[in-house]
């Protein structure tokens, strides 16, 4: 044994007392068991149960109840589908639904297109574009509140610089009240939203683009595929998963958060920028009708689920 060259190799030391009581050792032992993967998921799953699943279930049951904070006389009884029935004949609900569709479709389309263009341009790694990348990604990292007010200032009908510029350039005859005209209120809000969130797409798509092997493009070059075909045949298919995840996340965000519209228009003028999330917010916290707000939320939830399901099906990204 001693004659073997390996015998002079080091040998291990026995366990000390500290090793025996060291908690990391026990967790380490646990990590070798076959339910380790579930143990790893446990903390986050518990947290999500507490802060997501429970509130969601609570919201569901609320939608079948009478719950009006300023009308304690009505009690909090079960009312079955009353709120849902009311929704059918609620004009505001239908307007909000339509506006939500417009708001989400337009915003996602613009954000995705601009985001993709920016990502493609940045992915060319041209000298000097690193600085531009910082500028381009910046809006996404600003608070909604700040972004909203910045644009409110610039779009102000009296003091807004955009009006002044457009008038000076000659595109506009006089100052325009963007948020007072239903034909421009939604468009203006969408532009602000797109400005704020397109970098989200840029960021994710850029990450996705970096993962595409350059060999594919070389091969396509040799095959004589032009830039457009390369985009269509290589880039977009390779980005499919990233695009799908980004679109779903963004749609959820756009449908569910009323922040920006709350700051810019409060749904006005009239109902022209009223969306479902804003309507639910107002129903809950201005009319104190939590039952009806619950029903609106459930509908939004179902619509989103349906969207995600159809979308995942259509884009065939569900295979892991």
């Amino acid at each position: 044994m001693t004659s073997n060259p390996q015998s002079i190799m080091a040998s291990s030391r026995p366990l000390s007392t500290w090793d025996r009581i060291n908690p990391a050792r026990y967790i380490g032992e646990l990590s070798e068991t076959r339910f380790w993967m579930y143990l790893l998921l446990l903390p986050s799953a518990l947290l999500i149960m507490g802060v997501v699943i429970y509130p969601t279930l609570y919201g569901f049951q609320l939608s079948f109840r009478e719950m009006r904070l300023n009308r304690p006389d009505l009690g909090t009884d079960w009312v079955l589908l009353k709120h849902y029935q009311r929704m059918l004949s609620d004009q505001i609900f239908w307007i909000s639904l339509r506006n939500t569709a417009v708001w989400v479709t337009a915003a996602v389309t613009i954000e995705f297109s601009v985001g993709l263009i920016a990502a493609l341009a940045l992915n060319r790694n041209l000298p000097g574009t690193k600085v531009l990348a910082v500028f381009i990604l910046l809006p996404f990292f600003l608070p909604n509140v700040v972004a909203g007010h910045m644009w409110a200032l610039m779009l102000d009908p009296r003091l807004g610089v955009i009006n002044d510029l457009l008038v000076k350039v000659g595109l506009l005859g006089g100052y325009k009240a963007w948020f007072a005209d239903p034909s421009t209120a939604m468009a203006a809000a969408i532009i602000v939203e797109a400005w704020h969130s397109f970098p989200f797409f840029t960021l994710l798509l850029l990450a996705g683009l970096k993962g595409i092997p350059t060999d594919l493009y070389k091969a396509a070059d040799i095959d004589g595929a032009g830039s457009i075909s390369q985009l269509r045949l290589i880039t977009l298919p390779m980005l499919k998963t990233v695009i799908a995840a980004a679109v779903i996340l963004r749609v959820i965000g756009l449908v569910n958060s009323p922040d920006l519209l709350l700051i810019l228009t409060s749904g006005g003028p009239g109902r022209s920028t009223q969306v479902l999330s804003l309507y639910a917010f107002q129903t809950a916290y201005k009319d104190f009708n939590f039952g009806y707000a619950g029903a609106l939320s459930v509908i939004m939830f179902i619509l989103l689920m349906m969207f995600a399901w159809v979308y995942v099906r259509l884009s065939k990204v569900n295979q892991d």
Binding site: S31, L47, Y58, A121, P143, A245
Partner: protein
């Protein structure tokens, strides 16, 4: 052929510059304008003649804002909330992302999808039950409670992003480590997490910025200045009535400063994280 290709490449290069410069301008123009507004006198803002470059410069808006808003307290609150959010995500999300990345167990895909879509129930209504939960556990109107509420939508994002970074680290490394004498736990902490550290950093900062900027939960779940965050403080100050535009602009500039600092920091980490595939060597 070669000439044609290099010509089209040139066209694309020029096009890229044009697009990027244009977009960069669009992106920072509002910020620059806000800054210019913040250093104008109020009467140069509320005027019928647009003043582009301020001739008279003042910093009184910043001073007033500082005195009136309780900015330091709000920022400290925001910092605490953000840090706790990031901490919770790191503690629970890192191991979850690791599990999703490393193990193929039954129901994994469904569970991952579930993590992604849990956010589909509108935040607007989750606030009330969250309120009740938070009150029951005594975390209402506290930075920790708010941070926990944030995890409801940031944790899934964190897990998904980080899983991508973990995926980029080869699985064989853990096998090697386990044979070298670590447990799976040790392999995770000694080998995989250090490899994915850029990704971890990028993800953490991403989540941190989102927490820093959040508005709706912060508005509804905090009731006192003890835990109110900066965006809410700013919005409440603006309110319906007139916070002078100059102060509002100053508030905007002040509130994006920390974000820009963090962002400059994360910019590099993110690029490094994005190219994490390079660690495969």
């Amino acid at each position: 052929m070669a000439v044609a290709r290099s010509r089209s490449k040139l066209v694309l290069d020029i096009g890229s510059y044009v697009v990027l410069i244009f977009l960069a301008f669009i992106c920072i123009a509002p910020i620059v304008w806000t800054f210019l507004t913040s250093i104008k006198l109020e009467e140069d803002i509320v005027t019928r003649n647009m003043i582009y470059i301020p001739t008279r410069i003042t910093f009184e808006h910043y001073v007033n804002l500082w005195n009136q808003s309780g900015y330091p307290v709000l920022v400290v609150n925001s910092l605490i909330t953000t840090s706790v959010t990031v901490l919770i995500c790191m503690l629970t999300g890192t191991i979850a992302a690791y599990s999703f990345s490393r193990f193929h167990f039954r129901g994994r895909t469904q569970l991952m999808l579930a993590y992604l879509i849990v956010r589909m129930f509108p935040a607007v209504l989750m606030i009330v039950p969250l309120f009740i939960v938070m009150r029951q556990v005594g975390l209402l109107d506290s930075s920790i409670g708010l941070a926990i509420a944030y995890t409801s939508f940031l944790l899934p994002l964190f897990v998904w992003m980080l899983k991508g970074f973990f995926d980029a680290a080869p699985k064989e490394l853990e096998s090697a480590a386990r044979i070298d004498g670590t447990t799976r736990l040790g392999a995770m902490f000694r080998i995989v997490i250090p490899i994915a550290r850029n990704g971890l950093l990028a993800t953490a900062v991403f989540v941190g910025i989102a927490a820093w900027n959040e508005y709706l939960f912060a508005l509804m779940l905090t009731t006192s200045q003890g835990s109110r965050t900066w965006p809410v403080g700013l919005q409440l100050m603006v309110g319906e009535f007139q916070l002078p535009w100059g102060m509002l602009a100053a508030g905007g500039i002040i509130s994006i400063l920390p974000v820009i600092v963090l962002f400059a920091f994360v910019q590099r980490a993110m690029v490094a994280g994005i190219t994490a595939g390079a660690v495969k060597g």
